[in-house]
Structures are given as structure tokens and as C-alpha cells.
């Protein structure tokens, strides 16, 4: 594979103000972004329902039970992340490859097939909910494995659709040109698609089941997804700030080395308690403790790039969400993950609200943020490459409030669940010995009960932020006539000093 970072870009996105001249890939990206936002709303609604059931257990009992709400909450989240990633890649592929998308019609059909399949899966989750104890249930209704509950027929559909997506992206780069970003992206997509296959089988042995299940869940979320957003981030910083290609590409390689260097064997922190050998305690503890390092690198990289450009971006909402991504990724995935990754601590925190606390901040900080940033980048061009820097007509209050409310809301939920998790670790695990009686004892103590109430309050704050986000996405730049601020050419090297 020839990877070159020296070829200049063409100005595919250089539309004149007020004129929408989107390429085929960019039009497709918008569809993915719309579907992603619908799923984001579904994630939030079902998260609120599940959160309410902690406070009012009889709420929707026997109609939409906690397991259904939680499954839809998680699955909507995962699928909207994937839609956001696919949309972002379709958005950047033609610009980065310097040529048109190879198969726009096929890509369009692929989008509708995937979206129809997702709709059917969710309807079956909501209407049929559970099956009897046969393989047919796993093939047709629900696989019953957290995060990858989609029934087997949908697994096969997902593999087919993602293969079509991958071929389209790889072929476009092959037709056009390669760069450090696109080379890393394509290799990462191969790994991402391949890893999904590790989850597509049934076995009686729960230990073997969970071993491979973590290959999908961990190696997606804590390895290939992180590299994917590293690629997207690199392109985003070039576009919003004019960050130099050589700098972002070098940082991307550093991040890949650190991410896979720590994250691949960091998988071992999921192998502490599932029946796997004792050596995973040491290996998993050590390598997963290193996992925050690449996330620090990402923060340094983003802040360095933004700082050297004096935060003068052509898209303030996008840059703000990219910075939120850098810090959110470090805090949520890095710090909150590190808190409980050593086996000596994990023995007591594993399977408590501590994990939910980590999950909420990590998924929001690492992935929701960067997808929202890309939607703002896309919207700016959809509106005709209009002004989205400082001095927006309404002072940009909607994007600022939606960003603020969502960050405060998610952080509030995270801290509430962390307090609940601490309480569980002490009361249920350390003192109570993890019996069912100890579990329920911990669930009824004031610190836990109040934490669930605060989680609900901050969940509503997050939902309010999301509603304002939708309002902003529908209105920002609509009446704007100024052209976008010009940023430096990412391909240009600065003049030699002296």
C-alpha cells in the first residue's frame, strides 16, 4: 500500500456562500448523520426510562421492562456511534482521496438496507422482547449478550453492509490517493469489521463465550474505535484549524502505537474473573493501566494544535466539540477506566455502578462528542460553507448551551453513579460478601438511592442539552450570508526560520 502525505488536496468543499454543492459522499454522510441523531434521541429516551425504573420499579413493569429499555438504550448508542463514524468517513473520503466516491448508488442502497435492518431489530426488541430457550430465538429475536444483542440474521446483515461500506471507502482511496490518515483508516476498518466476526457464534461454555465477546466489545471500543476517531480527529483539526498535515499524521501514528501497544493486551482487564488463567490479572492490570497514555497524547495534540492556531477556527461549535472529545476521552475512558482497572480494586468494583459511571462518561466523551463535531462540520458546508466562527447572529447561545448542558449532564450522571458504585463496593462487596442480600442492602441505602435520583436529574439535563442541539442543528447558519473564515492550508509547510 503506497501511503503518501505529500500530495496536495483539491478544494472539493470550497463552495461559495449560500450555495450547497455537496458531493455524493457528503450527501450520503448527511443521511447517516440524520439517522444517527434519531438514534441518539432513542438512546436518551430509553436511558431515561431505564433510569426511572431504578427509582420507580413498577413503572412500565411487564410492558417495557428494564432489560428491554437498557438493551435499546445501549444498542441505539452503539449504532448511532457507528452511523456517526460512517457518516464522518463518507464526509471526508472524497476530500482525502481527491476523487469522487466509487459507488454512490450502491452506498445509497446500503444505507437504506442497513437502516431498515436496524429498524426491524429495534421493533422486534420492543414488541417480541424475548423468546424461548432455543437457537431460533438467538437467530431471530435477541442474542442476549450485552452490547451485541442483535440477532444472528442481523449480524450477518451488519457484516454484509459494513463490507460494502469498506469496499467503497477502500476503492475510493485506491482510485484517488493514499495518505497517512487514509491508510490508517482503511487498515483500522479491516480490523473493526474482522473483529465483529469473533462475536458471531454460540457456545454452551460461558467462559469461552465471554472470552470472544470481549474481543468484539473491548477491541472495538478500546482499540479500533479509538484509532478510528484518531483518524477523524486528525482530518477535523486540519479542516477546522488548518493544522498541518505532517503534524497531525505524526501524532496519529504515535496514538496508534500507544493505543494498540496498551489496548490490545489491555483486553486482559476483562479476563480477570471469567474463568481465564491467573496470568491475566498481571497482564491485564499492567497494560490496561497504560491505556490512558494515548488519551493524554490526544489531549496534548488537540490543545497544541488549537493553541498554535490561537483557537482561530472556521467552525467554533465543531472545534469546541473536538476539544470536548479530547478531554472527555481522557477523563471518561482514561481516568475513569484507570480508577478500577487494577485487579486489586476491580475485585470490589467490578459489576457495580462504578462500571456504568465509566461507561457513560467514556462513550459520551470519546465518541458522541466527535460525531457531533463532525455533524457541525457537515452542516456548515450543507449551508453553503458559511461563517460559523465567533459573532454568530444569536451569539451562538444554542450550541454553547447544548454543549454545556450535555457536558454537565453527563458528568453529573457519571459522578452520581460513581458515588453509588463506591457505596456498592463497600457495602455489597467488601462488607457484605456479594450475596443477593448484600446486593439489595446496598441498593436500599440512602447514598445509593439518592445517587439514582441525582442520575435522573442529570439525565434530564442531558436530554435538555440534546433537544437544544437538535434545535441548533436545524437552525445554525440558515440565514448566514458571510463566507466561512479562511484557515491556513494544512498542506503548506511554514517558512524556514532565520
Amino acid at each position: 500500500m503506497a501511503i503518501s502525505a505529500e500530495i496536495p488536496l483539491t478544494g472539493i468543499d470550497a463552495a461559495s456562500p449560500g450555495e450547497s454543492t455537496l458531493s455524493a459522499g457528503q450527501k450520503l454522510a448527511l443521511k447517516y448523520f440524520v439517522a444517527a441523531m434519531v438514534l441518539f434521541a432513542a438512546q436518551t429516551v430509553f436511558g431515561l426510562l431505564a433510569g426511572l425504573q431504578f427509582i420507580y420499579p413498577d413503572f412500565l413493569f411487564g410492558v417495557l421492562d428494564f432489560n428491554v429499555n437498557r438493551m435499546v438504550h445501549l444498542n441505539a448508542m452503539i449504532v448511532w456511534m457507528l452511523y456517526g463514524f460512517m457518516g464522518s468517513i463518507y464526509w471526508l473520503v472524497e476530500d482525502e482521496a481527491g476523487t469522487e466516491l466509487v459507488g454512490p448508488k450502491l452506498a445509497n442502497i446500503n444505507f437504506w438496507v442497513l437502516t431498515a435492518a436496524v429498524t426491524v431489530v429495534v421493533l422486534v426488541y420492543l414488541i417480541v422482547q424475548v423468546g424461548d430457550g432455543t437457537r431460533a430465538s438467538i437467530w431471530l429475536i435477541n442474542e442476549g449478550r450485552e452490547y451485541i444483542e442483535a440477532p444472528r440474521w442481523a449480524d450477518i446483515g451488519i457484516v454484509v453492509c459494513t463490507s460494502v461500506f469498506f469496499c467503497n471507502i477502500a476503492a475510493t482511496f485506491m482510485k484517488g490517493r493514499w495518505s497517512g490518515i487514509s491508510g490508517t483508516l482503511v487498515l483500522d476498518l479491516i480490523a473493526l469489521a474482522g473483529l465483529y466476526l469473533a462475536g458471531m457464534f454460540y457456545t454452551t461454555n460461558l467462559s469461552v463465550d465471554q472470552y470472544w465477546w470481549w474481543w468484539v466489545v473491548h477491541l472495538w471500543v478500546e482499540a479500533t474505535w479509538e484509532v478510528l476517531v484518531g483518524c477523524i480527529m486528525a482530518w477535523g483539526l486540519m479542516k477546522t484549524l488548518g493544522a498541518r498535515r505532517r503534524i497531525v499524521t505524526t501524532w496519529l501514528y504515535i496514538e496508534v502505537a500507544l493505543m494498540f501497544g496498551s489496548g490490545i493486551l489491555g483486553l486482559g482487564h476483562h479476563y480477570f474473573w471469567i474463568g481465564t488463567p491467573e496470568y491475566w490479572l498481571g497482564l491485564g492490570g499492567f497494560f490496561s493501566a497504560l491505556e490512558p497514555i494515548p488519551l493524554v497524547a490526544m489531549v496534548v495534540h488537540a490543545v497544541y494544535d488549537a493553541g498554535t492556531h490561537g483557537f482561530k477556527s472556521n467552525n467554533h461549535p465543531a472545534l469546541a466539540w473536538l476539544i470536548a472529545h479530547a478531554f472527555g476521552n481522557f477523563l471518561g475512558a482514561g481516568v475513569w477506566g484507570f480508577m478500577q482497572t487494577l485487579p486489586q480494586i476491580n475485585l470490589y468494583t467490578h459489576g457495580t455502578q462504578w462500571a456504568a459511571s465509566h461507561g457513560h462518561l467514556a462513550f459520551f466523551g470519546a465518541y458522541a462528542t466527535i460525531n457531533i463535531a463532525f455533524i457541525y462540520i457537515a452542516l456548515q458546508h450543507w449551508r453553503g460553507n458559511v461563517w460559523m466562527s465567533g459573532g454568530l447572529p444569536d451569539g451562538g447561545w444554542k450550541w454553547k448551551w447544548s454543549l454545556g448542558l450535555q457536558c454537565v449532564g453527563v458528568m453529573g450522571m457519571t459522578v452520581a453513579m460513581l458515588i453509588a458504585g463506591y457505596e456498592q463496593a463497600f457495602v455489597e462487596r467488601a462488607a457484605g460478601g456479594s450475596t443477593w442480600g448484600a446486593f439489595f442492602d446496598a441498593q436500599t441505602r440512602p447514598w445509593f438511592v439518592q445517587a439514582m435520583q441525582w442520575r435522573m436529574v442529570f439525565g434530564v439535563v442531558t436530554a435538555a442539552g440534546m433537544a437544544i442541539l437538535f434545535w441548533d442543528l436545524l437552525t445554525i447558519g440558515r440565514d448566514e450570508t458571510r463566507p466561512a473564515k479562511q484557515v491556513p492550508d494544512p498542506e503548506a509547510e511554514p517558512a524556514a526560520a532565520g
Partner: protein
Amino acid sequence: MTDPVWWASENFWRKTAIFVTAFMFVILIFLTFHSMSVILAGSEAERVPAYSVINHRVDYRFDNERGMFRPVIGEEAPLFGTVHTEAEARALVDLGKLTVQAKNCMNCHTLYGNGAYYAPDLTKAWLDPGWGNEQSRETLMLMFLTDPVTNARTYGTGRRMPDLGVTEEEARGVIAFLKWMSAVDTNGFPYGFTPLPQGGD
């Protein structure tokens, strides 16, 4: 602009990224082969027992040598009073595992601590002191699984298990699966767990 020093160059980090990724992946593959051989049901490593372990009493005690709790497989104590062959035991545990998946248990409970946190962990559910004693356990578990609303055990939280339409046959499978799971060596997780009295404890 002058080229950056070698350790800050794009070329160096590209090669490093490729090498590190390949090296770590090879190590993972090697460890995966080893782990798979260890966690096969009934392997010599005795971490994951054969399915016929459901014919025996399972206990959970602190092992001073390893410094952690571990399952102890005891005398014959057949599930539902029937000694199962390995094939019969496997079929029964398989029915239980399929039922646990099809009923989406993992989105309320945890298995090995993985899943949702609305309802208790099931890793040692077979040994939980909440079942009272060894004699009443199987009957209580069957009653609960087949009619969880009437036989709700909410411990003051108000949280009930919904009626998931578990048949008696499926419930027997789930109980076999839970008994087998309680016999898996999970490196001392959960810590400090005290099982219900068994075998004249």
C-alpha cells in the same frame, strides 16, 4: 523547513505503530490459544469444570495457598436427584444457557460480573444463602423462575423479576447452568462470599 529529528519523524512513528500493533497482536493470539486450552469445559487445568459437575456438591472456600476464594467440588449431590451423563449434563446446561440468552437475563443481571446492575450477580446464584438451605434450594429456584411475579424476592427495593415465560424444563436448564457456573474458578471473584449451608455445615 528542516526535517524533524528521527524520533519526531512521521516515518519513525509509522514503522513503530506497525511494529507495536503486529507484536501485541501476535502475543494476544498466542495467549488466546493457551487460554482456550485452559478454559475448555473439563480441561486438565480444572478452572472450568465438565458439565457433569452438576452431579456434585459445589462449595466456595478461601484457598490459603492462592490467597483467594475458589470453588471446591465435593461429593455426589445430583441435581434434581438424577445423575446425568456428561452428554445429558451438557444438554441441560446448554438449554439453560440458551434460555439465559433468549430471556435477555444479562440486561438486568450480571454473569461473572458482566451485564447490567439492576439485579444481582448470578455467578454464585446457586450458592446464595437467600435460598435458605440445600434441601429447599432446587424447589425454590424452580418456583421463582417459573413464576417470578408471585414469588417475588425484592428485599425491600420493589424491584421484581418480570414473567419471562420460563417453562419448567427451561428453568431446570437454567438451574443446571447456574450450578455449573458456580463451579467455575473465577480467580476469587466474588470476594468474601459465604455460601448457603451444605452437607451438614
